[in-house]
Structure formats: structure tokens, C-alpha cells
Symmetry: C2
Subunit: 426 residues, 2 copies
């Protein structure tokens, strides 16, 4: 991986580096000395620069050899930039127009240059501001259906699938972050956990004592580790999605690997549900975000329903993979039986997505990495109320999966919890 040539690029280095690349220099335009370079990375792991010249702009992402959120005490391999580039390239083929175009990749520097997404904003920020995104459902469901279907056993030969799994196997340090921070730490005493204290102290303790939940999350963890169903994005929250009214772009697939499809679908559902529960904490006058909240729950339903429909349509249209060979389902009766099995497969995938969504919610409230949906609720007590509602739903989704057989069961439960008042500690 040429790690010997790696150095962290500061503004001046970056300017010189880009000036040496004719295509990018031309795209930016004007004199390099006049380029405006700003470091804007607000994620947990990397440096991100926006560079603007006389003609155009670009985004430059460089991996740091440690977790930015924590510091040098937590090293993280630069190779993640390689896997991100690999995933971006594959996603660009499978879901054209739904990921940023890659303009340049430098393996040694763990650096990728992408088109500048402008005026896109991070979707999570828009959701905090109660903005609705009319393209979102169609775009995100196309992204998920196509990237998951075409990298699964339904579309690949078993040989292609095994080679693809192996190509991402080295990204295990990023998987380990998920394994620890999502599937383990929130359920035990861990130094990095934090929550809205003291109000959620009791709830945090109850999760640590909830053995049914521990079994459920351990099953999900094992599924995450050992079910390479498809190339998943691996971190598909609303902070990894950039939007405008008319465009959607999925960014930051550095956690990509072959894992369970329900993890990506669950991530989207979870982050919408958190936006829903956080919304009450952001209202200045009662009911002012009512229409937005209705849109969010409708979006939750549409995300699942349209994803399922698109995934099924791809499968029906002609699956060239080694799973479920058509030759075993001849004639009308065979077609009908295969269709029933497709529906059963989607039901299992739904159940996985519900469980993973729950895990994603709980980690954002009790684990290391929180999100601005809740964090920007300044009144800690109000924040705790929103969080407790989300956790109540998540607990049920994870430990009583049988009570959620269709997506409307999830949104109905969320709606019922909108004004529920939890007992808080402290």
C-alpha cells in the first residue's frame, strides 16, 4: 500500500500536490496560488478539504492514520481509503449519479479527489431544520436496491462473490469499529460510552442488565461478522448522504465490506426514526414540525416499501447469480413458488433491517458517537425525553422482532411514542 510515502497533507502541501496534476489543475482553473482551500471535515475519521479555483471546485478526502474523533491514541489503517475507493467505484457503476464522481485516487497518500457537491448539504442537517427532500426516497431506494442486489448471490456467480468478499476482507479494522461501538459497548460499561446524564442514567443501567437484549444484539453482531450477503456501504446514516431538492449523493463508504444487506437498510430507517424522535426537541412552538414529522414517518414506510419493490423487480427481471437457479422453478407453478420464496426472503431481510435499525439507534444514544439530531437539542432534559422515546422503540424492535411484521408496525409504534413521557433519572 506504499504507506512509506504517506504524509498528512496541510494546505500548502495540498496546493502543490494538486498543481502537479494537470487534469485537476485545469478543472480548478486559474493560478494555484489563488485557489481557496478550506478544511471542512466534520466526520469522525478523516481530513476533508474543499478546493475552489477560478473555474471549478473539488473535494479532497485524506484518511488519517488514527481516529480523528479520538486522536492518535486510536490508530486506524490508511488502507480504508483503498476500500472506500473500491466501493465508490463499484457503487458508481451500479447506481450511476447517486455517488460523487471520483476524479483522482492516490493509494500512497490515502487520498481521493471527488467532484464538489454543491449546493448539497448533509441530509442530517436538513432534517434538524425540518427540511423535506422529495427525491430522497426514490434515490436512496434505487441506491440500496441496485448496490445490494448486484453484489449478492442473486446476481453474481459463487466464484465472483468469493473473490469480491476476499477483496474487502482486509477492511476489518473498520468493521471492528462497528462491532465494538454498535454491537458491544453500549450494552456494557465502557469508557467511551456517554449519554444524556443524569436523565438517562437509569435507562443506561437497564440496557446493561437487559439479557434478552444482549442475546439479540449478539445475534446481530454475529450476523454482521459472518453473513457476507452483499457489498454494503456499512455506514449509511443521514450524515453519509448529501442532498438538495433535486439530488441525492451517498458519500463516505469507507466502512464498506461484504456484510448483511439489512445493515444498510436498517441504517437508513434508524436515522429517519431518530430524526422523527428528535423533532419534538427542536420545536419552538408545539406542533410546528407536525407536517415534517408526518413526512419522516411516511419516508420510513416508503424507504422499505420502495426498496423491497425495486429489489424484487431486479430479482424478477433476471437473476444471473448462482442462488435460486431458475432451472429449478420451471413453468407457471415453478414461477409462482419462486415468487413466494422471494417474498419470504424479503420478510427475512425486513426482520434483519428492523434489528439492525434498533442497534443503530441505541449506539447513538449510549455509545461513543452521537448525532446532531439529538445533540443539537440544547435542553438536556428535552433531549433525554426524545432519546428515551427512540430507545423504547429500539428496544422493542431488537428484542421483540415478532411484533414488527410490516413497516407500518414500526411507524405506528413510533407515532404512539411521539408524546410518551418517560420517567427520567436525576
Amino acid at each position: 500500500m506504499g504507506q512509506g510515502d504517506y504524509r498528512i497533507l496541510h494546505e500548502a502541501d495540498l496546493r502543490a500536490y494538486l498543481a502537479g496534476l494537470p487534469d485537476l489543475k485545469g478543472l480548478l482553473g486559474g493560478e494555484p496560488a489563488a485557489w481557496a482551500i478550506t478544511e471542512v471535515g466534520d466526520g469522525n475519521l478523516n481530513l476533508v478539504f474543499i478546493v475552489k479555483g477560478a473555474r471549478g471546485g473539488i473535494a479532497v478526502k485524506q484518511a488519517l492514520p488514527y481516529v480523528r474523533l479520538v486522536g492518535e491514541s486510536w490508530p486506524l489503517p490508511l488502507s480504508r481509503a483503498h476500500y472506500e475507493y473500491l466501493a465508490l467505484s463499484r457503487q458508481a457503476q451500479l447506481a450511476p449519479g447517486l455517488v460523487p464522481a471520483v476524479l483522482h485516487h492516490d493509494e500512497a497518500l490515502a487520498l481521493t479527489v471527488m467532484e464538489l457537491l454543491e449546493p448539497h448539504i448533509i441530509m442530517r442537517k436538513g432534517l434538524v431544520a425540518a427540511t423535506r427532500y422529495p427525491r430522497f426516497v426514490d434515490d436512496i431506494t434505487t441506491f440500496m436496491a441496485r448496490t445490494l442486489f448486484f453484489t449478492s448471490d442473486l446476481a453474481l456467480s459463487a466464484a465472483e462473490k468469493k473473490e469480491a468478499i476476499a477483496a474487502f476482507a482486509g477492511n476489518h479494522a473498520l468493521c471492528k469499529i462497528t462491532e465494538d461501538l454498535i454491537f458491544t459497548d453500549p450494552y456494557r460499561i465502557a469508557e467511551q460510552n456517554r449519554w444524556t446524564a443524569p436523565y438517562l442514567d437509569g435507562l443506561a443501567a437497564s440496557l446493561r442488565d437487559d439479557l434478552e437484549l444482549h442475546v439479540a444484539v449478539s445475534r446481530l453482531k454475529l450476523k454482521f461478522m459472518a453473513s457476507p450477503e452483499a457489498l454494503i456501504h456499512g455506514d449509511l446514516h443521514t450524515g453519509s448522504i448529501m442532498v438538495t431538492d433535486s439530488q441525492t449523493r451517498v458519500i463516505d463508504p469507507e466502512f464498506a465490506f461484504y456484510g448483511p444487506m439489512g445493515f444498510d437498510v436498517g441504517a437508513v430507517l434508524a436515522n429517519l426514526l431518530m430524526a422523527y424522535f428528535a423533532s419534538a426537541g427542536h420545536e419552538r412552538t408545539p406542533g410546528e414540525r407536525h407536517a415534517f414529522e408526518g413526512w419522516v414517518l411516511e419516508t420510513v414506510e416508503q424507504v422499505w416499501n420502495q426498496f423491497a419493490r425495486k429489489f424484487l423487480d431486479l430479482w424478477r427481471a433476471g437473476a444471473a447469480g448462482d442462488a435460486y437457479p431458475r432451472s429449478l422453478f420451471p413453468g407457471e407453478k415453478g414461477a409462482a413458488r419462486l415468487e413466494a420464496e422471494r417474498q419470504a426472503t424479503m420478510q427475512r431481510l425486513f426482520s434483519d433491517a428492523v434489528g439492525f435499525a434498533a442497534a443503530k439507534i441505541i449506539r447513538r444514544i449510549f455509545g461513543l458517537a452521537h448525532n446532531i439530531d439529538f445533540e443539537l437539542i440544547e435542553d438536556a432534559k428535552k433531549r433525554a425525553v426524545s432519546e428515551a422515546r427512540a430507545v423504547r422503540l429500539a428496544r422493542a424492535m431488537m428484542a421483540e422482532p415478532g411484533t414488527f411484521s410490516v413497516i407500518a408496525d414500526v411507524t405506528a409504534a413510533a407515532r404512539n411514542l411521539r408524546d410518551w413521557m418517560p420517567e427520567l433519572s436525576g
Copy 2:
């Protein structure tokens, strides 16, 4: 893989080759010209030589670039010798004394030299002759429990596990044989299928029309392709086991890869069940093999029960892997809840093993590769009767898994079919 240096070794080449390896030359003893070299390969894929010198003997296995059973029209990569060597080495660490010692490996020649197993015979031959093997249950269950547990997520970190999966990903040509010949072809018209015609013509047709079975076998196929639970042997039938009264050796792991644990366990159960049903076809006087048949069914029960006990004991003794972290199950209550989950895990594994066992039975009766348990029954009608009984059990095991919740359900069903008279075609 240095395939450029590969050449098929004939007797004279092999003699010269071995003479050039001081350790092996010393082990064999005497003049190379005096060594007795015999080609004894009776498997489907490779050349196997036994070489005996004045002092000792060795077994030499060389992969051919095609499927021996079919010929040069069916090429097969030599790299399988590499994966076999890799698997043998790992199994030797994990289950010492239960695989042949590797004395030499030559990657370019796709050749492995092993200790000569003498006076061991292929277990399947012994079973045809109604021989009982008192060490078998203890040895095979130790082999399976240890090789499966210690390569699973219960014993490995997620990083180690992913690297191990990747190390075997290239063995997909061998997996493909299983995918096609076990999980697909027997259920559709395929040129290479054969069965005891005309007696089983009707049964063959009914399997091709049995859509419930096609769904069940397709689920098993997908599990085989995309559930890398542990390093499995991949071909653990009674022709891959060499035995004496006091020793058991598992050979030929060239199909090894990271797959579902139930596939290995199911293979052992399936081959014992076939020995049981074939037994009636080998008796010269009614009831003469009664005691042997009782031993076989008792062995079926013990294989599962002792495997499950040993696997559980390893798990209880201290699982260092990333799955089911102990820290989530503290105290007595935690320990009890984890123990219940262990039992539930074994129940899921049992269910997998029952399904895979069924697939292994059906492929030996309707697919390309048959076995001598049935093939040595000269009277075709008698053979068809034995086979039809086995298929009736296998059909139930695959399509009605809920009716088999403990291993005694399987042996009871087998016992009930011992004298059942099927309707034959022709």
C-alpha cells in the same frame, strides 16, 4: 502458483523426484530403484501413489488439471492442492493425530507427500463389509468439534476470521462442484445425473417436480455459498475417512473453505444413514447384519450428541472470539442466559446438519457421483429399494425439517423405513 513447472508425474518421474529429497529418501530407505510404487487413486479427482522402501512407506497425492472421474473435458485448477495443504496443516494443529502427517508439499507440482496410513482402510469399504469401528464416534466428533469451533467466530477475532475466509476464497472451483452436483443437478434434468434405472425413474421425476424440495435445497445452497461460519472439510463422507479398530484419520480436505458447519456434520450423518439403508441390500441371509445396523444408528445418534457436547464444552471453556462476548453476560444470570443461547445455537446447527445430510443422500442416488454402499448391491432392484428408502427419509429431512428436532427423530424415522417397500418403476 508456478503452474508453469507442473507436469503429471508418472512412476519413473516420481521415483527420481523423491530420490532428490533427502528426508523422504531416508524415510523410505534402501535404493530408490528398489522402491515399490503403486498408483492407487480411486477417488474422483487425483493421482495417489503408495511408495514403499526398505525402511518405510509414504503416500503421494498429486492433483490433476482435470476431474479424473470425467476426464480432460472438465478442467479443475491445480490450486486445490494448495488449499488442501493449507487445510491439512490447520486441521493437524487443531485435531492432532486425526489427519495424516504432511511430510512434504510442492506447490508447483500440486503434490503432497503424507504418512502412509497402514493398515487403515477407507471406512466406507469397512461399512459395506459390516465392520464396526469402536473409535470412530469419539474421533470424528473430536475432529469436527475442534476444527469447526476453533475456526469460528466463537474462537477467532473478526479480523482473523476475515483473513482466514479470504485465504480460502480462491478455492471456488471446488465449491462450484458441490454447488452444482449436490445442490442443483439432482433436482433438474442434467446430463451427468444417473440413477438405478428403470426402478427409480418415477422417483427421479418426482424429485424434479417437487417444488417444496427445490426451495429447501436452494436455501441450503445459498447457505453453503454465503455462510462462512468455519473452516469446513467440505467433503466429509466415509470415503474421506480411513480407519482401523484403534485409529481414525480424516483425509482429502481439498474442498475445504469457510462454509456452514452443518455441512460437515451433515455429511457424516448422511453417509452413516446411507450405510444403514444399503445394509439390507448386502445381506445374504435375512437379519445377518442386524447388529451392525443397530450400531450404525447408534453411531448416528452418538455422532450428533458427542459432537454437540464437545462443541459446547469448548465454547463454555472459554471463547476468545468476537462473537457472544462474555462481558455481555455477567454473573449467574448472564451465564444462564448465555448457556440457553448456546443450546439454541446448537439447535440451529442441528437443523442445518439435517438439511445438508438430506442433500448429501439425494446427490449420491440421483447425481453424478455415487457411492459403493449402494453401487456394490449387485441386484439392481434390491439396490433401488435401499436407495428409495434413503430418499424417502432425505426428502422428509430436507422439506419438513420441523419434524426432526432431536437426532433420535432421525434414527427413529430410519428404523421405520428399514423394511418399507417402495413402489418402483419399470
